[in-house]
Symmetry: C2
Subunit: 157 residues, 2 copies
């Protein structure tokens, strides 16, 4: 069970964009430079966050990415699921219905108790990440962070 | 982020073994037959559960697998981690230390707040599964289940 390596990239990129002045943007090249990441692959992932409504992309010579809504309205869960998808890591293939021990259909009307407990665990994971917004993350950064991020992220193309 | 397909197999096999009479065993072939699973691959995975101290294997003509300890002492988390390993799905590669935005070492003495929140979520997932034992699962099965499991699982080799 692994999340893509790019999960870390996008969590950090979104956190950095959350520190820009309102209306300011950063390009994929600037973000790639800031974290020393492969620009083309990062650009693709940033587009996935645009598709998910987390980032907005503006075009033109001064174009780039910014948050699509307030930092308090973007959760870590939304970012992680934009990168990796929202499907559950545990897959129930209904093995209770197959083989010599197969249960009759009338005993399979409700979800298998094992699948249900796995779903409970996934819900706990989701709830934990849904409870943390980018604003919460910013609140835990040192006071000098936003100024430093802005100058290093946007001072060159 | 995917758990191996065999996670479902082993959760079900352990649940079935938990329904046997004390001391009784079932072979890999019997378990494979019961759930219509590929026996050689299942046997390998059952050995992983033996290694993890969840199952015990006895050899000889009447040999097979049984729980290594009481059903109340075996959690879903132990089974899932015996199958998939215990490493965290999120991997922090410390990207805060690289690129144009690299933080100085003195700012990286504690864990990155993003990595910490991801670890919190993983802890919530683990706690959820650690809170469910095989005895809890058995308690949710219908009253006729153990008798049915025993007769279908062990009536032929
Ligand atoms: S049938 Fe899929 S978890 Fe039980
Ligand atoms: S440096 Fe890895 S999550 Fe922040």
């Amino acid at each position: 069970m692994k999340l893509p390596v790019s999960t870390e990239w996008l969590l950090h990129c979104a956190t950095s964009l959350a520190q820009l002045e309102p209306g300011a943007t950063a390009s994929a090249a600037q973000l790639a430079d800031y974290y020393d990441l492969p620009a083309p692959y990062l650009a693709k992932q940033l587009q996935a966050l645009v598709k998910a409504g987390i980032l907005a992309a503006t075009t033109g010579p001064r174009g780039g990415f910014r948050l699509a809504r307030a930092a308090s309205e973007i959760t870590m869960l939304q970012i992680v699921e934009a990168v990796d998808g929202a499907s559950m890591p545990y897959e129930c293939r209904e093995i209770r219905r197959q083989g010599r021990g197969a249960l009759p259909p009338e005993d399979c009307r409700s979800i298998c108790v094992l699948a249900e407990k796995m779903a409970d665990a996934h819900r706990a994971w989701r709830a934990s990440l849904a409870g943390v917004s980018l604003a919460d993350i910013l609140a835990e950064l040192p006071a000098y962070a936003p100024e430093r991020t802005r100058s290093r992220l946007t001072s060159r193309a």
